[in-house]
């Protein structure tokens, strides 16, 4: 950590790794370059858009599935297993799934869309559809979040619902006044974890769009995530100093986002047994 802070103030690069040159301090130069490099802003924007597209959608889908499974009289275990399967798919394989399933002309997604009369977009080549396809594929791996919610739902004492039913509360009131507050710690936890993971997205996107020998195909700008750019600066161009500065920027962003989430959620998260 500290080392990374130091290097972010230096011109550490390939010459220094090979021992040809002494490391020299360049002060805030690397951070000034962060502002000058348009790809930094681009990669950050991509990462934010991707995170905002995926996190709420994943939470909503997971909660919906968990609430159904929690009250299903039979086959709940079977469905839970099935929904968890995508979560044990290696991310590299998910990257390959994105390429083949969302292929514009032959991918099964477009074939299905055509079947219902919608001409599908060229997901993997049209810049405005790359992130939505990545997000849809990410929502596919919703099983882990669902399992967390399921465990939380099961822990809500049944007498609360009984009391509410006696008081004449309908399903919506029970949902908003009992279910949501009681599982809010689980919601909050997944909110934080999914956000941090989303801001660090790498493997799926890198597999699908960034490769040494992708047959001369230029990697699309729309898929340039922050960590991918960080990786390329550090380990393809060996601009370690600049990449360290990027890492610090990312760290600061994650910390700020998490802190904001903590502050905002203080109002909404309810811990049982806490004194009000």
């Amino acid at each position: 950590m500290v080392a990374s802070l130091y290097f972010s103030f230096t011109d550490y690069g390939i010459e220094q790794i090979a021992g040809f040159e002494e490391t020299s301090r360049v002060g805030l130069e690397n951070y000034r370059q962060l502002l000058d490099d348009p790809k930094i802003a681009l990669s950050l924007k991509n990462t934010f858009v991707y995170t905002i597209l995926t996190v709420p959608a994943k939470m909503a889908v997971a909660l919906g599935l968990a609430m159904i499974l929690a009250r299903l009289a039979f086959a709940a275990g079977f469905f839970r297993t099935v929904f968890y399967l995508p979560d044990i798919t290696p991310p590299v394989a998910i990257g390959i799934f994105i390429l083949v399933l969302f292929n514009g002309s032959t991918g099964v997604v477009n074939v299905a869309l055509e079947f219902v009369g919608i001409p599908g977009p060229f997901w993997t080549t049209d810049p405005s559809w790359i992130k939505p396809s990545l997000a849809i594929m990410s929502i596919w791996t919703v099983g882990g979040t669902m399992v967390i919610y399921l465990a939380a739902l099961k822990a809500v004492p049944a007498h609360l619902y009984e009391a509410a039913a006696i008081d004449g509360a309908g399903p919506w009131r029970r949902f908003f006044n009992i279910t949501l507050p009681m599982i809010s710690p689980a919601l909050f936890f997944t909110f934080i974890v999914l956000t941090i993971a989303g801001l660090q997205t790498f493997t799926e996107v890198f597999t699908a769009y960034f490769g040494a020998g992708s047959a001369g195909v230029e990697a699309p700008d729309a898929a340039l995530m922050n960590v991918i750019y960080l990786f390329r600066q550090a380990f393809e161009f060996f601009n370690m100093g600049f990449a360290s500065a990027m890492a610090w920027l990312l760290f600061a962003i994650i910390m700020i986002v998490t802190a904001v989430q903590f502050v905002v959620s203080r109002r909404f998260v309810f811990y049982q047994g806490e004194k009000q």
């Binding site: 399967l85 798919t89 399992v147 822990a155 004492p157 936890f189 997944t190 020998g213 992708s214 990312l250």
Partner: protein
């Protein structure tokens, strides 16, 4: 924050994995423990939701079925989207000296797929074993001994959980780079084996230092073991280490299995670390190898590349995890559910 929130979590105070893992947590996840909006759906609603969930299940499972069938098709048919191949073709093994353009997955020139599989397997097993033991050791120390600064040190360990991997990857690489220069040909400790960049050591050696989440999980578990057990062992003449080995470890087996499986999965998934450290393709792990095959054979994502080989490789990468999941499903689900309550 973590420890405090933990005990406040609405679980009736069970607090994470208890030693009776199978009965406590899993019971709740499976819905046999009462609790929740206890009322079941009416028959009509049940039927409706079963149909709905079956539809969603198709979405969840479809890519796997597509993958299996695509991996068994000839090159020209991969994108025909038929779930049962019209023409079957075995893409995995074949002629060891193949005609160019007709190679099979395990007989590709420059792509030692078998060694990749083996690398992924042994690195995963070794890393998981090491991290389970080292984390258990640290966790036991935090659970059993009472020493000044314990709370602070534990908070420090938990804080490393917040550190994004992307932030530490450069400093860690630079450390390994230093080690490379120390142990290489001209290095000062050249008698040591070469353990730096472009060896497989960086993939598993860091596991010797344990891992914050596993330490947390195991500590919770050890705290659930009655202290009397340890005191009795002390009276029987056990020293601290034999106490750890004879009592703590066997009792913590369910939690250790969770740690073990999680780490195998993490190593099996990891693309970034091998990508940073490995240069020789013979050293690659399976994800990196698969990425290499994709780059070499993919040809822009259309239909002209050797996608039947890529799909065969993907299947080989996906299948072992599915098998592992089939065997240890309980532990996967429990481990994930436990994660949710560390908030």
């Amino acid at each position: 924050m973590s420890a405090g929130a933990q005990s406040n979590f609405p679980t009736g105070g069970a607090g994470g994995l208890t030693p009776r893992v199978g009965h406590g947590l899993l019971g709740r996840v499976l819905g046999r423990g009462g609790g929740g909006e206890g009322r079941r759906f009416s028959r009509l609603k049940t039927a409706f939701f079963i149909v709905l969930l079956t539809g969603i299940s198709v979405l969840a499972v479809y890519p796997f079925i597509w993958l299996v069938s695509a991996a068994l098709k000839p090159q020209s048919d991969v994108f025909d989207n038929k779930l049962i191949p019209t023409n079957w073709q075995w893409n995995f093994t074949g002629d060891p000296s193949p005609v160019s353009g007709d190679e099979r997955l395990l007989a590709l020139p420059d792509a030692p797929v078998l060694s990749w599989i083996w690398n992924s397997v042994w690195i995963g097993l070794l890393a998981a074993l090491i991290v389970a033991l080292s984390s258990a050791l640290v966790a036991f120390a935090f659970a059993y001994f009472r020493f000044p600064g314990r709370g602070f040190l534990f908070a420090l360990i938990l804080a490393t959980m917040m550190l994004p991997g992307a932030v530490t990857m450069i400093p860690v690489y630079l450390i390994w780079n230093e080690i490379t220069q120390l142990t290489g040909e001209a290095g000062r400790v050249a008698f040591l084996p070469d353990i730096g960049v472009n060896t497989q050591y960086p993939l598993w050696v860091p596991n010797l230092f344990g891992s914050a989440f596993y330490i947390f999980l195991l500590r919770q578990f050890f705290l659930g073991i009655p202290r009397d057990l340890f005191e009795a062992a002390r009276i029987d003449g056990d020293n601290y280490f034999s106490m750890f080995r004879r009592i703590a470890l066997p009792l913590a087996k369910p939690a250790l299995v969770v740690v073990f499986i999680f780490e195998i999965q993490a190593k099996w998934f990891d693309l970034l670390t091998p990508l940073i450290y490995l240069r020789d393709s013979a050293l690659y792990t399976l994800p990196l190898g698969l990425k290499m095959i994709l780059d070499q054979q993919g040809a822009g994502g259309g239909g002209e590349g050797r996608w039947e080989i890529i799909m065969a490789g993907t299947l080989v990468t996906v299948l072992p995890m599915l098998i592992l999941f089939a065997i240890f499903q309980r532990y996967f689900i429990e481990g994930i559910a436990t994660q949710g309550r560390k908030g």
